[in-house]
């Protein structure tokens, strides 16, 4: 078995009396597209910060491509690229200067060919000599991605990279990240856009209050936790609610069920109750439902 891209064992972190991470164990395989999900304050950013050496855990160990992030921090950091959540930049420099400097920090001072390739891939080539202050928010976000890639790390962590980003840029960014993943880069993504995680991630961990409360492939999570739904618009919504549905707006009532085989019986009961079916919609299981279900159970 190959070395895991990321190995986290028993990692805990407290800020005073606040438990940010409570003994997290996690392995991410090489080449995975992995999602790290959780509500605000669940510990996602703390975990990423511990991986990248920005936070020192109270206990446990973390390794990137087999390199311990404390004992062998130089090799661990060489193998990791992090796109931070905040839109931060150094106002003194142009895009190219910034990328050359970032590359130099990793010991690579002659790196223009790769920098040009990244700039072209992220549609930033025409802004290479522009000062960072002159760029739009979306462009600054792409520069952050470029900075994380200058040393061509095998493991890339994206901490909510599409927060506040318009649809077009988001699509372009995911196309690029997917290509990196196809090329062999391991991708770890945190996001609040659950439909993105569902579409991109092969496996997902959900965190709550510093603990992993669900960890499985996306397909398994959808199978295990998500229920199907049937939304019906009724002439008499109250009768639908009496049959176990939850009332929505405009006469709509939602029913949750585990299998489509239950639909026929449900429709029969609505007819018998004289609810007056006007319109209906079937809902597929989605990650948002899984997320809500997991968070409620944890």
């Amino acid at each position: 078995m190959s070395t895991p891209a990321i190995r986290i064992q028993g990692v805990s972190k407290h800020y005073g009396s606040l438990k940010a991470l409570g003994g997290v164990d996690l392995e991410v395989g090489q080449g995975e597209f992995f999602g790290l999900l959780g509500p605000n304050g669940a510990g996602k950013t703390t975990l990423i910060s511990a991986l990248s050496g920005l936070v020192r855990p109270d206990g446990g160990t973390l390794a990137i491509m087999g390199h311990d992030v404390v004992a062998d921090y130089r090799n661990a950091r060489r193998n990791l690229g992090v796109v931070p959540q905040e839109l931060v930049f150094d106002p003194f420099f142009s895009v190219r200067e910034l990328l050359r400097i970032q590359s130099g920090y990793f010991g690579i001072r002659s790196n223009d060919d790769w920098i040009d390739e990244i700039l072209a891939s992220l549609d930033l080539a025409h802004k290479a000599n522009a000062n960072m202050r002159m760029l739009s928010g979306g462009m600054k976000r792409r520069v952050l991605v470029a900075q994380a890639l200058v040393h061509r790390p095998p493991v890339i962590v994206l901490d909510e990279p599409t927060a506040g980003v318009d649809v077009e840029l988001r699509q372009g960014l995911w196309q690029f990240i997917r290509k990196l993943n196809r090329d062999g880069h391991t991708i770890v993504l945190t996001t609040h856009y659950l439909e993105e995680a569902e579409a991109l991630c092969g496996r997902i961990a959900m965190l709550k209050a510093g603990r992993i409360v669900a960890l499985d492939t996306t397909a398994n999570l959808l199978r295990r936790f998500a229920t199907h739904s049937l939304a019906v618009r009724l002439e008499h919504p109250g009768r639908g609610v009496e049959l176990g549905g939850s009332a929505g707006e405009g006469g709509w009532v939602d029913f949750a069920f585990d299998s489509y085989t239950e639909v026929e019986a449900l429709l029969a009961r609505l007819r018998e109750a004289g609810a007056g079916l006007v319109e209906m919609r079937l809902g597929e299981p989605d990650l948002e439902r899984v997320f809500v279900e997991v968070m409620n159970r944890a």
Binding site: Y73, R77, V88, F89, A219
Partner: protein, 271 residues
Amino acid sequence: MPESFSRAVPRIEPMAAESPLAGFRTLLYKEVLRFWKVSFQTVGAPVLNALLFLLIFSHVLDRHVTVYGEVAYTSFLVPGLVMMSVLQNAFANSSSSLIQSKITGNIIFVLLPPLSYREFYAAYVIASTLRGLMVGAGVLAVSAAFVEVPMAHPLWVLGFAVLGGAILGSLGVIAGIWADKFDQLAAFQNFLIMPLTMLSGVFYSIHSLPQFWQDVSHFNPFFFMIDGFRYGFFGQSDTSPWLSLGVVGLCFVLIAALTLAMLARGYKLRS
């Protein structure tokens, strides 16, 4: 590991570092480039400030005061102003760079790469010392056009300038890391660095002070920096240059050790 998430992928190797010190050299280059890009503000303006001091004090006092017996006050003043500029600008460089990076958040770009805390320290302190030396050289060069300034022992001049710059560069690193907002940094600068500099003998020989204040001055390490530096110009000083070198050297070792200990612990940088 379940088969569903283990897949055969081409192994990606990160790019290899060109040399062990390439990261440090880049951080040093970036810190120098940072102040050089705004050199009107970081070099030109401090030179002008020092020259204004020279103009005013020399106008008022040159005909009334001589020091060390026969040295004109204006000549005496120049090394003090040069050293004051070295010290203040070395402090300003590291402290402002760090606090700006912390407040804007871009400090992360220095913390994520595989740089050691020693490389971090050396890059910030050397860049600060270089800025101090550039401003000091500017003040000296322009002053020399108007005032006769001898230089009896250039190596002493250079030695004290480098040590003084390094000490203040280190203090700037401490202040930049400790301060959470510009107000705190200004307090550090205005209530500690500025009084210690101004009361160190920049504008006077401590022999002109009452005995009590002469004794107090010997507890100010900045006094030894400036007195030793001045010895390099005139071959005379208020106290032995070897004593000054010892005090300044010891100060550097202690402050460097403190700064390195803070960085090694990750104080306020790696929580």
